[in-house]
């Protein structure tokens, strides 16, 4: 499945995979044609699977109808920076009307949709068709498979978040906004994107791995992400009404987007999407950071746990 996309490397990397030679339970000869030459080994397989995941998420190497949705979403994300660039050109303000990190929160539905498309593509099909034993009969380990898929989805997500922010920066520079501020804001936005991509990929893949049907996986991921956002705003609103500002800030911890936004506000000093809910004390920021780490570890662990047995669900 992944071999077709592998470009021929200049030199075999067999030496880079010491474990491959020692294992005796690896099936290479599946009866088509005998091969005695050098093999690239475990590291190369992981690299290929990662590359295949990134390409496949964007529909590269897949039929045309698989390319429609990811590129439509990329197109939707690219429109606001262009509009914003034009607006700042016309009004001549010193700052763009939306900051780099606010962009992540404002268009979170599109990012959620992208996760919902990418994660089931990466893991659900292999589980549904029961082909994991085929992957694992090669030198690749169980954890290698999970790591390659996880890294692939994270890279794809980061690329999708980084592209509109870069466009936003280019638009801001073309409108002759102060270049230093824009570079700093852009770098902060990329850092927040990375944090968000790591968390969203873990959540999305963990859900997708438990829903082997693609349609159900898409619906489950998007439902959970949207409902969690709606709940966090409702809870924060209630807490603010009860005059409990601490809880209003911590209500954002259950929503990945607000969590990363809060972390960015505290550690990078950027403008918050919603100022009332931004962390103001080190204690609040510490709790948010702890929740972030625990969430990534929990969903990553859940994903690994799912692959303890490589069969169907």
């Amino acid at each position: 499945m992944t071999d077709a996309t592998t470009p021929v490397p200049p030199t075999p990397a067999a030496a880079g995979a010491p474990a491959a030679g020692e294992r005796t339970d690896v099936i290479h000869d599946i009866g088509f044609r005998h091969y005695d030459g050098p093999r690239f080994g475990r590291g190369w397989i992981v690299r290929t699977l990662l590359l295949d995941t990134v390409r496949g998420v964007f529909g590269i190497g897949r039929p045309a109808r698989s390319k429609v949705m990811p590129w439509a979403l990329v197109g939707i994300l690219a429109v606001p920076p262009i509009v914003i660039g034009l607006v700042s050109l016309l009004t001549g303000d010193d700052e763009p009307p939306i900051s780099y990190t606010q962009y992540l929160s404002q268009l979170q539905i599109v990012f959620s949709l992208f996760v919902a498309l990418a994660a089931p593509y990466a893991v659900s099909r292999d589980l549904r068709h029961g082909v994991l034993p085929l992957y694992l009969s090669r030198p690749m380990r169980r954890t290698d498979y999970v790591a390659a898929r996880y890294a692939g989805v994270t890279i794809a997500l980061f690329a999708v978040m980084a592209l509109p922010q870069t466009l936003l920066m280019v638009a801001a520079l073309l409108a002759e906004l102060p270049a230093d501020d824009q570079f700093v804001g852009w770098a902060g936005g990329l850092l927040a994107s990375l944090l968000l991509a790591v968390l969203l990929a873990a959540v999305g893949l963990a859900i997708a791995a438990f829903t082997p049907r693609r349609g159900l996986g898409v619906a489950a991921i998007i439902t959970i992400l949207t409902v969690v956002t709606g709940m966090s705003f409702a809870l924060s609103g209630i807490a603010l009404g009860q005059d409990l500002p601490d809880l209003a800030v911590l209500g954002g911890a259950i929503d990945p987007y607000r969590l990363v936004d809060g972390l960015a506000v505290w550690f990078l000093g950027v403008d918050a999407t919603i100022p009332e809910f931004a962390p103001t004390t080190a204690g609040q920021a510490g709790v948010l950071a702890a929740v972030y780490v625990v969430a990534v570890a929990f969903f990553g662990g859940l994903l690994l746990q799912r692959y303890r047995k490589a069969g169907r669900l």
Binding site: R62, P63, R65, S66, V68, M69, I76, Q106, L107, I109, V110, L113, A116, L117, R125, T211, R213, R214, G215, L216, V218, A219, A220, I222, T223, T226, V227, G230, M231, F233, A234, L235, G237, I238, G241, Q242
Partner: protein
């Protein structure tokens, strides 16, 4: 309508883990409603805020999406719809049977929870409950018919439906006022605003269109997409699932 098709659809829709997902969302809403009542002392405007923002804005479209695509989407996805289409049953009655099941499920799992949420969170003489009940029913019927038709029209029904329900209605509607005129949620809120009368503005219930316009557009959309879905199902072309 065909009772066997309906029975099969009910089993496919509620028999699996999907029904859990359908139960979790209403329970969450009721929990939030209880919390809102405790926090705001059962004030109708807080109740209207929760019902408008979370129940009508997020929960109802999502539930209708899960139900509308759930009754036919998986069958088209894995190709097993051919066994149903090959039977000597008119395609029209297959689609209408599935639509009937979807609408009934929407009423039970989405419309009633929205009403219960409004009643729990705070209400005066059940005015808010009935008004939002009517709005949720109208919006639920239109959403479900629309998403059912989408899943016959495209394999990416869930994503396209979400782009409409969340990005178009919520995000774009916030920036571009004209978008709010082309929104099932706004059309369905028009009768609710009329029913509440002078209280509507005080409680924050308002719609972008007038009631006759809203009702007409809802009827046109519901009937139109159902007709389109029937037309499309009669000439359905199956693509390999990936």
């Amino acid at each position: 309508m065909n009772p066997v098709v309906m029975e099969l659809t009910v089993r496919g829709l509620l028999g699996r883990r999907r029904s859990l997902l359908l139960l979790v969302l209403p329970v969450l809403l009721l929990g939030l409603a209880a919390l809102t009542r405790w926090a705001s002392g059962a004030s109708p405007s807080a109740s209207a805020g929760l019902t408008d923002g979370f129940a009508m804005g997020t929960l109802l479209p999502l539930m209708c999406l899960l139900i509308g695509t759930g009754v036919i989407g998986p069958e088209i996805d894995d190709g097993s719809i051919v066994y149903l289409l090959a039977k000597p049953v008119p395609r029209r009655s297959i689609l209408l049977a599935k639509l009937a099941v979807a609408l009934a499920t929407t009423v039970v799992f989405a419309v009633l929870p929205v009403m219960a949420g409004a009643a729990i969170a705070g209400d005066v003489e059940l005015r808010l409950t009935t008004a939002y009940g009517v709005a949720a029913l109208l919006a639920g019927v239109a959403y479900t018919a629309l998403f059912l038709a989408l899943s016959v029209l495209t394999r990416n029904a869930v994503v396209v439906g979400l782009l409409y329900a969340l990005l178009w209605e919520s995000v774009l509607g916030g920036y571009v006022p004209g978008v709010r005129d082309v929104s099932i949620r706004q059309w369905a809120l028009a009768p609710a605003e009329r029913m509440l009368g002078y209280r509507a503005s005080g409680w924050g219930v308002d719609s972008a269109v007038s009631m006759p316009v809203g009702l007409t557009l809802l009827a046109v959309v519901t009937v139109g997409v159902t007709w389109l879905a029937i037309r499309r199902l009669t000439t359905l072309r199956l693509a390999a699932a990936d």
